[in-house]
């Protein structure tokens, strides 16, 4: 593998992992934009969707059918989560909502351990998610291509949705000022429910792609990716959909680049650099790369 090929391969890798992060970050950003809630339980919705699909596939469902049911289940789970845990504390300080989502994560993970067991299970991905394309020395897995395409399609669809549809416009109004939107006669509960349903459905999609990439599911599978998605969303500009996408790709590039250039064992410091950059972004551009500057510094 020549140096040039190596660079191209790492570029492909960065795009691949970046699009998965972007997909997860969009879901987080949808909810954050309106409620200013960093929903850590987003990762557990990925887990819920993956297990749903897994059990359906074991029962002989075709993949597409199982995937659709799984995404719907994730959306319903997200709605239930909003109704039970988040709606009653709406208007609380941001941190209280963040902490609530931690608690929801603990509940869901332990319920999963109690019900489906702690063991990992293989996730039978269909051929279109598990083939590998080769070009000379370069390889790219189809799940990554699907992730890139899905991210692009969803970005277009969601942009259209929030710009052109009534619900989308009320969502933007709510994101700008929840109280004002309410005064304008927008049904806030409905708008928030939409945001949660869409965000959770996206978590479901991301969960399925993640499970196909990793090849297995377990009760804690959502924790590590949601932490990544969270960084992506912050770096990109929390609450904006294009920002989340940009953040996802930036994070993907950072990770692959650092892992690629840091020599030997020092590559193990990668996450320290990534989170260090996160702090830097917060200091320099608190609202992210694409975020609107509403600097509130002391």
């Amino acid at each position: 593998m020549s140096f040039f090929e190596y660079g191209v391969q790492q570029l492909i890798n960065a795009l691949s992992i970046g699009s998965l992060y972007a997909l997860m970050a969009i879901g987080l950003a949808m909810v954050f934009g309106i409620l200013r809630l960093i929903n850590f339980a987003h990762g557990d919705l990925m887990m819920v969707a993956s297990y749903t699909a897994l059990f359906l596939l074991i029962d002989g469902f075709p993949f597409l059918g199982a995937a659709i049911v799984a995404v719907v289940v994730a959306a319903i789970a997200g709605l239930a989560m909003e109704r039970v845990a988040y709606r009653p504390i709406r208007g609380a300080p941001d941190v209280a909502m963040l902490l609530t989502s931690f608690a929801v994560t603990i509940v869901l993970e332990n319920v999963a351990v109690l019900t489906v067991g702690a063991r990992s299970r293989a996730f039978p991905a269909p051929p279109f998610l598990s083939t590998v394309f080769t070009l000379g020395n370069l390889t790219v897995s189809s799940v990554n291509v699907v992730a890139i395409v899905t991210t692009a399609i969803l970005l277009v669809l969601l942009t259209f949705f929030v710009r052109r549809t009534d619900t989308g416009i009320s969502m933007r109004a709510a994101a700008e000022d929840l109280v004002a939107a309410q005064l304008m006669g927008i049904n806030i509960n409905r708008v928030i429910a939409y945001a949660f349903a869409i965000g959770s459905g996206l978590a479901g999609v991301a969960g399925l792609l993640w499970a196909a990439k990793v090849g297995k599911v377990d009760p804690f599978m959502g924790f590590s990716p949601v932490l990544k998605a969270f960084i992506a969303a912050v770096i990109g500009g929390f609450g904006t959909i294009p920002g989340a996408v940009v953040g996802g790709y930036v994070l993907g590039f950072l990770e692959i680049f650092l892992q690629g250039i840091l020599p030997g064992q020092s590559s193990a410091y990668r996450d320290a650099f990534v989170f260090g950059i996160l702090i830097l972004v917060l200091l320099i551009r608190p609202n992210g790369i694409l975020g609107v500057q509403e600097r509130e510094e002391i």
């Binding site: 593998m1 140096f3 090929e5 190596y6 391969q9 790492q10 890798n13 691949s16 992992i17 332990n110 351990v113 067991g117 702690a118 063991r119 990992s120 299970r121 293989a122 996730f123 590998v132 080769t134 020395n137 390889t139 897995s141 993640w210 990439k213 990793v214 090849g215 297995k216 377990d218 804690f220 924790f223 590590s224 990716p225 990770e255 692959i256 892992q259 690629g260 030997g264 064992q265 590559s267 193990a268 990668r270 996450d271």
Partner: protein, 402 residues
């Protein structure tokens, strides 16, 4: 409300004091129906992290131990007494691990303790057992330093990582050649030790690590590491990857997808059905050191009946090597109590030290006063056509110092 809070806490203090003093023994997985009115039982403590991050390793170990217990009691227990395994959950939390150990020793009055699959927990529990003079056999922690760190009451059921790493190095050096690629998970003790001992033995043999790389527990994307490996001018003779059971299928899958076809070598973390289930055909040409050939078709009679019993009881194959190790640990401790003819800690420890040729499912166990990490053959498995097959049974020529 304040007063309710204060009263509540007071009530809790009292509840705890009472419950601690009367010590309800939880989950006494006793001898089933036969033990409905146990006159006198022999109590063994089972300390496992049944929840939290380590649960995927500890639950199989606890399941294996429970299976062994049922067989022991069905066969009449020890000298007519039924054996009771009191299981408590350490929750992958150091303070809780120490709490449950104290409870098992102090409140449940166990005569011996088994459990845990990691050194963090084993080292939190071990010294407490040592102080109380109660033998503790860890079902899965593989650091060969454990007995010297804890004392003469500490035993291991698995071999030390230095032994299996030495076998891996010697086998791979002879079979594949002197150039190795090394990738390891920097986030766990097991994978760190395995990689360290492998490196020591392999370079001692004259081998060379052409590229060394790491990842963090939780990482599921190895594409950057793989591209780095592929950019080597000349591919190494084999790839040594030190990973935990939950990761290994994913790792092998991604290496193969990227076009790396050379032999992949590793340790007993690979001994899980997930390897073939996740990686599929990609798992072929993978070699790993482990305790025994755990295959329902090709394994020994003991292995076959163990897998059969495990399937019947839990509805699926043993999740990883820890299931068989938990099973062996339970059988070993009961055997030692029987031979000791007493429930005195020192006598049991002595009986464990005198164990020779104990026929475990996961290999034959031999201990002595100076070997609390068992002397045990290492089995080398090769994955062929999606099946685990026996590649070699070896004792290493030289073992790196712990």
């Amino acid at each position: 409300m304040k007063r309710i809070g204060s009263l509540l806490s007071l009530a809790l203090v009292i509840a705890l004091l009472v419950s601690g003093c009367t010590a309800p023994a939880p989950s006494s997985t006793g001898g089933g129906e036969a033990a409905s009115a146990p006159a006198e039982t022999i109590k063994i403590g089972g300390a496992f992290n049944l929840t939290g991050e380590l649960s995927s390793l500890d639950v199989p170990a606890a399941n294996g131990a429970k299976l062994a217990l049922a067989e022991i009691n069905a066969a009449g227990g020890v000298d007519g007494k039924q054996v009771e395994l009191i299981i408590r959950d350490g929750k992958t939390d150091p303070a809780t691990v120490a709490n449950i150990t104290t409870q098992l020793i102090d409140s449940d009055k166990v005569v011996a303790m088994i459990g845990f699959t990691d050194s963090d927990s084993a080292l939190a529990a071990g010294p407490l057992c040592q102080e109380a003079g109660i033998p503790f056999i860890t079902a899965g922690a593989t650091s060969p330093k454990l007995p010297s760190q804890v004392g003469d009451m500490m035993f291991l059921t698995p071999f030390g990582d230095n032994v299996q790493a030495a076998v891996g190095a010697e086998f791979a050096y002879d079979r594949f050649g002197p150039k190795a690629y090394l990738l390891w998970d920097k986030g766990t003790e097991y994978t760190t030790l395995l990689a360290d001992y492998f490196k020591t033995r392999f370079t001692e043999l004259g081998g060379e690590i052409v590229l060394e790389d790491t990842y963090q527990s939780g990482d599921k994307d190895f594409s950057a590491q793989i591209a780095k490996a592929k950019s080597l001018g000349e591919q190494p003779d084999f790839y040594y990857i030190s990973a935990v059971p939950d990761d290994i299928g994913t790792t092998v899958k991604q290496f193969r997808e990227a076009g790396i076809t050379g032999p992949i070598v590793g340790g007993d973390g690979y001994d899980t059905p997930l390897l073939v289930e996740v990686a599929g055909d990609a798992a072929n040409n993978v070699f790993f050191t482990t305790h025994a050939l755990m295959d329902a078709d090709n394994g020994s009679e003991a292995v076959k009946s163990f897998i059969e019993a495990y399937r019947t009881e839990y509805g699926h194959d043993p999740e990883n090597a820890f299931a068989a190790l938990g099973y062996d640990t339970m059988k070993l401790i009961v055997d030692a109590i029987q031979r000791a003819g007493s429930t005195d800690g020192a006598a049991i420890a002595k009986a464990i030290e005198e164990t020779q040729g104990f026929p475990g499912v996961a290999g034959e166990l031999n201990y002595s006063a100076s070997e609390h990490v068992p002397r045990k053959g290492v089995t080398m498995i090769e994955v062929k056509d999606g099946k685990f097959t026996l590649a070699a049974e070896m004792v290493p020529e030289k073992v790196p110092a712990p």
